[in-house]
């Protein structure tokens, strides 16, 4: 079903989306927030630019945006897919626990903070371009892949992985990422490491009509945490 978001406030738009129990195509989207909050089992196609907190608590639905997205996309996402044919703003995939987010272009600051995994739930964020600072802080699980397409330099900003205690961050670059915090070790990704991300890169390439082989043949650095108990030695009982 098609819904035109023109002149609809976020509440009206989201009421309409919730009321329809089927796949929805939203046209003329222009900054409406909270689209697809907690949605399960259907597909939302959005033409335009949705507002902040797209797909918060997403629980299995697929959201595809033909355009760019703003901040806090996929906040605390539990399951499902978010596919963005453009760029993403800040705080992408905050605390997400499951599902996948695929961004064709760049993502802003604070991407993938405190993602975590649990049993069969393993979240993944795949960024085609580059990302801002504070990528993957407090990372407790899941995968973040930054492909850096078109980027000459290391495609991440400062303070990547501060407080990281789980998960993996993959960066496609020829240069070794520097200035990393003490909780993180960086090294060239082994074939075994790469096997973990290959299916996601193929999925990414499928969504955005790219050549997966071209992307996977390049050099990747992988960031891993030193341990899963970063604060172990910090305290003394009083």
């Amino acid at each position: 079903m098609n819904i035109s978001a023109r002149n609809l406030d976020f509440k009206e738009l989201n009421e309409q989306i919730k009321a329809v129990g089927e796949d929805v195509c939203i046209n003329n989207c222009y900054g409406q927030r909270f689209i697809g909050t907690g949605l399960k089992g259907r597909t939302l196609t959005i033409n335009g630019t949705p507002g902040n907190a797209l797909g918060a608590y997403l629980d299995g639905a697929v959201i595809e945006v033909n355009g760019s997205v703003q901040d806090a996309v996929g906040d605390t996402m539990n399951n499902g897919k978010i596919i963005i044919h453009g760029n993403a703003g800040d705080a992408l995939g905050y605390a997400m626990r499951g599902g996948g987010i695929f961004i064709r272009g760049d993502a802003g600051y604070r991407t993938g903070i405190h993602m975590k995994e649990y049993k069969d739930k393993k979240p993944a964020i795949i960024i085609g371009g580059k990302v801002g600072s504070f990528l993957g802080e407090y990372l407790a699980g899941g995968l973040i892949v930054v492909l850096g397409i078109g980027s000459e330099d290391v495609p991440v900003g400062n303070f990547t992985g501060t407080g990281m205690h789980g998960g993996r961050i993959f960066i496609r670059t020829d240069k070794e990422p520097t200035g990393l915090p003490s909780q993180v070790t960086a090294g060239l990704a082994s074939d075994e490491d790469l096997r973990e991300i290959t299916p996601y890169i193929h999925e990414f390439a499928d969504y955005f009509s790219m050549d997966a082989e071209l992307l996977t043949k390049d050099r990747f650095y992988v960031l891993k945490p030193n341990g899963k108990n970063p604060y172990k030695q910090l305290y003394t009982a009083n």
């Binding site: 907190a53 608590y57 906040d75 539990n78 802080e137 205690h165 899963k228 003394t236 009083n238």
Partner: protein
């Protein structure tokens, strides 16, 4: 071997005339203080391991045990107390940040104890609650800003979602992980029996407790542990935790050693992995950002549940509360600097934040001055110790109070302040199965019901004495309060007169 500078604070005093060598103390102590020497047929103990939790004292069948303060002393020094010296030794030994539990025990003013209540004499009759109906029921949530009518003039119901409580008390957030399954069950069942609510804290919700949903507040904090759409919709309200009175401005670290079995399942993280709640929510750097989380939660629950925003009482609490009231939150919870915790750095717990009485009075006044008091309800916690504290808090402007330490005391806590060790002999702040089973939820929930039933009666008695028959008429009624031993500034902030005025 390094010399341990610290002499134990407490001594286990055993009356050998009474001791029958039954070894109950030895079996009951998870800290392994007591030991039976078969050779000499004698019980001995290591005072250094004792946390003064009174488990052995309480269970000794012949009352042969008591814990006494150690008579050992350093050379007396007002500036360098024995406690200060010992803390320094501890850090010199370990290099660690001092870690403590439960609320700030230091000698700061307790304003509740400097406020006295009024009673009617002659000119306004007092009311006997045994004879006349007294209303302690409260509704928490935003109140409508205007009356709306349909075409025929009938009043439309535009009431935002409310929490309805039999009395102005709720159990404040304590996560499953920081406290045991049996402690959670006791709180949940007591809430159901009393018609009030308990709070999951940031630990997710155990599947067994979804059936107490109507009496549950589910919490969303910076780590977002256990948060998913089913969880958000399972309770009657959602609380966004921005801060906690015991540790304003810092996050939480539940060590991986405590992430076992069920605790791992409800938090939805692997066993052994630290549960780190960052100090701020890294998606909230402003009131605008807070509003976004408030509304995403409302969208996720179809605007059916009030959203609470919990903050620690800090210097600019009234201004912050004003922002929260405008963020779309329905309820503001303020946690004072005496509030409890399962673990917090000692220096933060004992030196950061402000007293809840002042924070409450300042916030209530600010919201009234700005004409937005009805946008939100105010819930206060951070050491509500008795029904008198509740009556005073309501008269200072609170809609309701949060209690936690008081609830744990009802369950058997002896305030030994060693929760962080995870070996609670009373089965409360532990996940060790043999210890957890010492707390029988069947007895625990009844003790909580007893406590609050008694408090409810006392509240009615105090209200009756003031000639007030509804708790709503007491709310913000500062004429019912007088201060003693308070200076002009304190009276001004509290908005009350001095006794005698």
């Amino acid at each position: 071997m390094a010399v341990n500078f610290i002499y134990p604070d407490y001594e286990v005093a055993r009356n050998y005339d009474r001791c029958i060598g039954c070894r109950v103390c030895e079996r009951q102590c998870a800290n392994e203080v007591h030991e039976y020497l078969a050779d000499s047929n004698k019980m001995v103990c290591d005072d250094a391991k004792c946390v003064n939790c009174h488990r052995c004292v309480t269970l000794c069948p012949t009352r042969a045990l008591k814990i006494i303060k150690s008579g050992n002393t350093y050379k007396e020094n007002v500036n360098w107390s024995g406690k200060t010296i010992n803390e320094l030794y501890r850090q010199a030994e370990s290099g660690g940040v001092l870690l403590s539990s439960m609320g700030n025990p230091e000698n700061y003013p307790v304003y509740f104890d400097k406020i006295l209540l009024n009673a009617s004499q002659v000119t306004n009759p007092s009311i006997d609650p045994l004879r006349e109906p007294m209303e302690t029921k409260v509704s928490l949530g935003a109140k409508p800003r205007n009356i709306e009518r349909d075409e025929s003039g009938r009043i439309l119901n535009n009431l935002p979602p409310q929490l309805s409580l039999s009395m102005p008390v709720m159990f404040s957030a304590m996560s499953y992980g920081s406290i045991s399954y049996n402690a959670h069950e006791s709180l949940a069942r007591a809430s159901e029996a009393l018609g009030i609510l308990y709070n999951t804290g940031e630990g997710g919700l155990h599947e067994d407790f979804y059936r107490y949903g109507e009496n549950t507040i589910v919490q969303v904090a910076s780590g977002r542990f256990g948060v998913h759409p089913g969880y958000l919709n399972s309770g009657s309200a959602i609380e966004i935790k921005m801060g906690q009175g015991a540790k304003p401005g810092i996050g939480g670290h539940l060590p991986g050693a405590k992430i076992v079995d069920d605790v791992s399942r409800t938090r939805m993280i692997p066993e052994g992995c630290d549960a780190i709640s960052p100090a701020p929510h890294h998606d909230i750097y402003s009131i605008e950002d807070l509003r976004q989380l408030v509304y995403s939660l409302k969208e996720a629950t179809n605007y059916k549940k009030p959203v609470i925003v919990k903050i620690a009482a800090v210097h600019n609490v009234a201004v912050i509360a004003s922002g929260i009231a405008r963020s779309g939150a329905d309820i503001i919870a303020i946690d004072g600097f005496r509030g409890g915790t399962g673990a917090a750095p000692t220096r933060i717990r004992d030196h950061v934040g402000i007293p809840i009485e002042l924070a409450l009075a300042a916030t209530d006044k600010r919201l009234r001055d700005e004409g937005i008091r009805d946008y939100v309800s105010i819930v206060v916690g951070g050491s509500i110790r008795s029904s008198a504290d509740i009556v005073k808090a309501v008269a200072l402007g609170a809609d309701c109070v949060y209690i936690a330490t008081a609830a744990l005391l009802a369950l058997g806590c002896h305030l030994c302040r060693s929760c962080h060790a995870g070996r609670c002999n009373w089965g409360i702040a532990t996940q060790v199965p043999e210890l957890v089973k010492r707390l029988n939820p069947e007895i625990g929930y009844k003790r909580l019901v007893n406590l609050l039933t008694a408090w409810q009666h006392e509240i009615k008695e105090m209200m009756g004495g003031m000639g007030i028959n509804s708790i709503e008429s007491l709310k913000g009624n500062r004429l019912m309060l007088r201060g003693v031993d308070l200076n002009e500034k304190e009276l001004e902030i509290l908005g009350i007169k001095h006794a005698g005025e």
